[in-house]
Amino acid sequence: MTDTRVRTAPPVIDWATDFDHTDPVWVDNPFPIWDDLRKRCPVAHSDRFNGVFLPTRAEDIHAIAYDTDHFTSRAVVVSTNVPEAVAPIGGAPPITSDPPFHQHARKILLPAFGPKVIEALRPRVVELCHKLIDDMEGRDVVDGAADYAQSIPPAVIAHMLGLPMEDGDIFRTFIHNTLGNVDAPPEERQAAFGQLDSYLDGHLNDHLENPRDDLITFLQNAEIFGNKLSFEHVRGTIALLMIAGIDTTWSAIGASLFHLASTDSDRARLRNEPQLLPTAVEEFLRAYAPVTMARVVKEDVEISGTVLKEGEWCLLPFPAANRDPEAFVDADQFVIDRAENRHAAFGLGIHRCLGSNLARLELSVAVQVWMERFPDFILEDPSAVTWAPGQVRGPRILPIRVLERA
């Protein structure tokens, strides 16, 4: 998807005092920025977005993730305005919920995303990946992002939720408007959320009249403290599962293909040792963790010598934690057989990514099927690769030349 709006924010001069996670320099390559800040300013601040803090050390990121006393999750995507307090439930429970409500909203969802339930989806994902590659027949150059990575999660999540499989493009537009476009005026963002709500209202009402075996009906029948969930709670959760279940995973798939296409030694290694896949997948997740979370500071708190001010944003860059040399040996190196890999790609603490098992399944299958069908491939044009801006980072355009088909 192309962002047609002209960027109006000024370029960043000093990342310690004026950083912007939507700046083209960050979007293209954030790693040197984090490495620099970790050494000289472990908690950076910017006046942009009405005030936002940025920790880059693993220790600080961990501490904030666990600290629900000083940080609220009432908003998790940094944008032009800090929303009014709507926790403990929030607009998209449970990601926007705080304790104690959070655990109840989360507990309802956990069984549907457990590893054994998710594993049953494997044949469906395998079939989907093969079909996408079948559709590339006759083309030597394909877009690993648009033609492959971006088509896998929408189909899987649509199936789980009970939304039409053919609505993938509609999902993509919603995701662009909620996760991208964060520097758009508040009224423009509000309108985008309104469109998402009306799309979901139609499907939620249809499910109320015609219940079926999917997550929408499941949530409509679920109860907390003996009461059914409100219409808004169900809609918020479905919006969350759609948005969080798609962009994040396709970013991980795309970044993994990017790495393999641009690193001959790792591509050859995985080709010759396919049993290495589960270990490699965790290293893809560590080194290319797509998701940076955010919190709102609930109460002034000091972290590594910086006082974080109530009411301002705090980014939680788990990808930066995963690159901290204090936490990982050779943190800046991709080590395909890294056996000890305590990465935080799925976050930490009570908000651990609900869909982590689904993401891991989709990523594993996507890479496995790609390698089986395209044993050798390279980046067609490294300078043509573009990355998504904002808090979910993955390749948007990924031209790959297929060198060998199987």
Binding site: P111, P278, F346
Partner: protein, 64 residues
Amino acid sequence: MRIVIDAEKCQGHNRCYALAPELVDVDDLGMAQVVNGGIVPAGSEDKANLLVANCPEYAISVVE
């Protein structure tokens, strides 16, 4: 050697279950549960240590 899981710390990442389902199972909520009281069969000690080293929440330990 015995595996101990701190249920207060476990958040259901399932890294342990993915690495060694013979040593760790999961409940309906996806939270880790030791198999056979956590007793590590002879020869699986390295695997058990690997579980400890990969838990993002530091929820797993081994005791002799």
